[in-house]
């Protein structure tokens, strides 16, 4: 147990002997293509230059790992693995695995054959689809046969699709060989603690080698297996991301330790996600009133853990059977029934042609950003502001305010435009809810932002936003996000200098809790 609290020592010493055998896991410069912080984590850099090229090659088209790629590429998950070998207090197994899914939405469970057919069907219809993930509900490694059989079928039929899996890590050390054999590109391990005291408050039990463990014993066992699995994978050259659920009052401070521990064992990306918990979800935390973090708390923790390691900030905690670009779910178009009746024709050439066109687009975006950034040269101001952007992908300001289901948040400073997160909102112009409430909800979600960038916006919401101190900006419609935001920042600084603007500290904002929170309710979670 003591050893666990000292993440550095023994293991990192052992680890350093393995240099040369392992791929160099980002000798981090604080920024990289990967992760939510992505290339934008230090604004100025392009991404590809900051990661060892082997890693960049692996992540550049992966929407879940590369913040930039998620504008262009899509992923899908299939739910083939319903059994789990541990219990988490934020999970209600009547629904999905809360670690990757929006609680309260049941995913359709598929057999490996059904799943493989679905993957091919989706890949044929959505050429952006580059990644297949198996993430639950349940633990993919508590269902190894179903998981690996699905991977096998997909790999044989469509070798260009990247495979990845998410696991709680308990069974991980036993499956590293198979993960290698099946050419799994990336593994995500959910690690919420390295201290069994903390763990005992998150995990009531684990089931291991025919025995149920509880309390600190359970947490210690889980933690040891997770860290061991992580080391084995990174030593084998497999990219590992670590997910952590931020649970205020339980592991929020502790996650800084977790960050160090996983970094020293070669994880290339750390994704700290907000706890999603509402009483309606029927989880232990939901029922005990355990709140999730506010936007400011989450960002402060992510900032604290950044520095030497990429932090991922664009994770949408998607459902286990999500399909499509992040933030968009086309799962409903691919029901089992429809797939069963489909003749699937897999066209690898068409997919390749699409990817080539995306690469051209990405280069253009990068060049535009670099040109724009030059205009900030010479400015020196310590000012940092947040802005919200309505986008439907492609890295552009291309969504109508009223159609936005989420806003992407960028932090602007003289260093450039850095992606720091996203906020889900309810449709403003959707009937039924009453527009006033929906608008209030949007304002609560982006209350920490100085401006909101949109392709179009009506007069009435414009007025309300202004009253709330958020400037609606539509003159950059359909332009690149980075170019637009940097240009805005330049004029912002100018207006400050001219005294046209007063600089006020913004307040906190609320993270929307799953699908169940009623609109218009005060932000109970932020209490």
């Amino acid at each position: 147990m003591e050893a666990l609290k000292e993440p550095g020592q023994g293991i990192s010493a052992r680890f350093s002997n393995l240099k040369g055998l392992t791929i160099p896991v980002a000798p981090h410069k604080g920024c990289g293509s990967s992760g939510g912080s992505g290339k934008s984590s230090c604004g100025s850099s392009a991404g590809s230059g900051d990661l060892p090229s082997e890693i960049w090659e692996k992540v550049k088209n992966h929407p879940c790992y590369s913040e930039e790629a998620h504008h262009h590429y899509a992923r899908m998950h299939v739910a083939v693995a319903p059994a789990c070998n541990i219990q988490c207090n934020y999970c209600n197994r009547k629904y999905d695995c809360a670690n990757e899914s929006r609680p309260g939405v049941v995913s359709e469970r598929l057999t490996p054959e059904q799943a493989a057919k679905k993957v091919l069907a989706v890949a044929s219809e959505i050429p952006q689809m580059t990644v297949l993930g198996i993430a639950g509900p349940g633990d993919p490694l508590a269902n190894p046969d179903k998981t690996f059989q699905t991977f096998d079928l997909v790999f044989k039929a469509a070798p260009d699709i990247k495979l990845c899996l998410s696991t709680n890590g308990l069974a991980l050390p036993d499956h590293v060989e198979r993960i290698k054999d099946f050419k799994v590109d990336h593994v995500t391990i959910t690690i919420n603690m390295i201290d069994p005291e903390v763990g005992a408050r998150i995990y009531p039990w684990v089931f291991f080698r025919h025995k149920r463990y509880t309390g600190k014993d359970a947490a210690k066992l889980l933690s040891e297996r997770q860290l061991q699995g992580l080391e084995m994978l990174t030593q084998a050259g497999i990219l590992c991301k670590v997910n952590s659920v931020m649970i205020p009052g339980i592991n929020d401070d502790h996650l800084v330790e977790v960050n160090k521990a996983v970094k020293s064992r070669g994880a290339f990306l750390h994704n700290i996600m907000p706890l999603i918990s509402a009483p309606e979800h029927g989880t232990v935390f939901g029922l005990s009133g355990q709140r999730g973090p506010s936007a400011q708390e989450l960002k402060a923790l992510q900032d604290k853990c950044e520095g030497e390691m990429n932090m991922m900030r664009h994770c949408r905690q998607c459902r286990a059977d999500a399909v499509g670009l992040l933030g968009e779910d086309r799962g409903a178009e691919f029901t089992t029934e429809r797939i069963e009746s489909m003749e699937v024709e897999y066209d690898a050439a068409k997919r390749r042609a699409y990817r080539d066109s995306v690469e051209i687009e990405r280069e253009a975006r990068k060049a535009a950003r670099e040109r724009e950034l030059l205009t900030l040269a010479g400015e020196n101001s310590g000012r940092k502001i947040l802005v919200a952007v309505a986008t439907k992908g492609g890295g552009k300001v291309n969504e109508h305010f009223g159609h936005a289901k989420e806003f992407q948040i960028y932090e602007l400073s003289v260093a450039g435009s850095k992606f720091v997160g996203h906020r889900r909102v309810d449709l403003y112009c959707q009937g039924g809810y009453g527009e006033e409430d929906a608008l209030a909800g949007v304002i609560r979600a982006i209350n920490d932002c100085v401006a909101v960038f949109v392709a179009k916006i009506g007069g009435c919401p414009k007025e309300e936003l202004r009253k709330a101190g958020i400037e609606p900006v539509d003159q950059y419609a359909y332009g690149y996000i980075e170019t637009a935001t940097i240009s805005y920042f330049r004029s912002y600084l100018q207006r400050l200098k001219n005294g046209e603007l007063v600089d006020v500290e913004r307040g906190d904002a609320m993270i929307r809790q799953g699908a169940f929170i009623e609109l218009g309710e005060p932000a109970g979670q932020a209490a």
Partner: protein, 72 residues
């Protein structure tokens, strides 16, 4: 005394099925059942009944006292 699964509580997660040393557990249309003739309560195999230990929902795998031979 064999175990049984309280169908109304079962989430259908399938975790118990592969753990049973006697292959006593099977699925029928998403509902999991224990064959009382095959269940040995795991005696001779493990210290704990495996279906109970792995089931995510408490009181779902329970001892079946309703069988006639246990009622006297």
């Amino acid at each position: 005394m064999p175990y049984k699964i309280v169908a109304s509580q079962c989430t259908g997660c399938s975790a118990c099925e592969p753990e049973c040393p006697n292959k006593a557990i099977s699925e029928k249309d998403g509902i999991f059942l224990i064959d009382p003739k095959k269940c040995t309560e795991c005696i001779g195999f493990f210290d704990e009944p495996q279906c109970v230990a792995v089931c995510p929902v408490d009181h779902t795998c329970i001892v079946d006292k309703s069988l006639p031979r246990y009622q006297r």
